[in-house]
Amino acid sequence: MLRKFMRKHDVTDLVMWLIGFGLLVVVFIGTYRTLASGKYENSVWLDFFIFGLAQGSVYALIALGYTLVYGILFMINFAHGEVFTGGVFTAYFFAIAMERAGFIDRHWVLALLILMAIAMTVSVMVAVVLERIAYRPLRGAPRLVPLITAIGASFFLQYTYRGIYGSGVKTYPDFPALDGKLNAFGREWPILTTQALVIVVSALMMVFLYWYVQKTKAGKAMRAVAEDKEAAALMGIDVDRVIVNTFALGGAMAGVAGILYALLFKQVNAFMGFIPGIKAFTAAVLGGIGNVPGAMLGGLFLGIVESLGPSLILDGLGIPAPYQLKDAIAFTLLVLVLIFRPTGILGERLSEKKA
């Protein structure tokens, strides 16, 4: 029995299982002890959950950019975090101007829409130029080449933003209309108005994207190109244009995500895209890279785990200031997914076939 088992699985498998099992035990013990101690009330958990949902929706929007581009070109656009920064950082200056003019106080909805439009435009432009200059000439090169280029482009953009917009951390203006808890339908809800707005706007964007990819002619062409570029060209589809469209679509999502991020966290700087970018990449891998619903699901899941995880799991283990470790949780999750389910939650087994 044992010998047969050992023949099928080598020592590495065994060690991996042990690590996985060990982590599960740690998670279980931590969770149990936290809940048993009763340190947090139910309303606090709810707050954590809702914050996670809001932050997760932002991750999901950014993750869509990674997943769309991967679906078509099988490359990770590591400069996508900077596509996100470009939009929100540029919009910052307009936001400040609008605040000074009192425009935000008087017409906050319009102000928000204008900011989103600006952020989307800039992000789309950055994404499209990136594709044209950095990636298109390398199409057909070995897969490692565009990957390294992407990392280079990422640094290039970060320092360009720093050069143009300055190196300090800038504070986004406040939207007074969004302060406090949500008041709607004659009662107060246990959710901040900003968070509610972030969740609703992201949900709308995701529904739009899903509709676009599934139902429109351009979306179908996108899926056709993702599957077989040569056959798509034989249908009269301009493959280059579809690829540009894809980058633009990802850029638009990142632009909106940028404004939502600014609403939640209030701060911008030239390097702000790095961490959310890499988290969104984690989310895309988590959901199964190349898969649109997967990126959405992965983003929400990561946001919630990151928000609930520290207090739920680490607090019970007696770790002081567990919230500092939220990034560690996110990336532990990435490593675990890559080890135990490389295709992600909804992923198909196509990465090798298509590579």
């Binding site: 002619k217 056709a224 599957e227 077989d228 040569e230 034989l234 249908m235 589809i237």
Partner: protein, 237 residues
Amino acid sequence: MTLLQLDNLHTYYGNIHALKGISITVEQGEIVTLIGANGAGKSTTLKTISGLLYPRQGKVYLEGKDLTKYRAHEIVKMGVIHVPEGRRVFSRLTVMENLEMGAFTRKDKDGIQKDLRRVFELFPRLEERRNQVAGTLSGGEQQMLAMGRALMSQPRILLLDEPSMGLAPVLVDLIFDTIRELNEQGMTILLVEQNALLALDIAHRGYVLETGRIVLEGDAKALKENPQVKEAYLGGS
């Protein structure tokens, strides 16, 4: 009237000289077949016509217009439609979506509807499975879909690459009957086929390719009787 003319085409894969001066003409309303062994350059010829490959030398003319200056998706708009080897349907799109992709360049809604009805008349099986994902179709159905999809592009000339490959004999007959029927309706067809007997049966004229060169050409009937062709491609007898 000459619809398609290939003039001394030379195509390379990297440093490999795949086509060494191919000259072919296809008249309006004809079925012309290219036969030859694996690696003779049949598929390469079709790919060079449809713009998937660029010739290093030589020209492709469609009614006197030089196609080698255009890219693949632009050539489609001129009515040169290539059904590639191995069918290449979009397996994750539904049958309907595949057919819509065939009509990608078209804006005439009525015309598209008319062609869709024609495709469903030709291949009723596709209508039954219109909402099914193409990856779940059988090989024969995928070939029908590949041809139906090509017909949605308003072809003036169809380039068919190995339509019988991997199909059961009954389905091969069905596909070849359809090719003949399309031709009787006036469609010009350039057919690449491993099964030389079958191809020469329905073609008007044929070319025999060997390692990137045309070694024989002529009337399909004459080729079928040619001892060299018999020896090499028709199983000896």
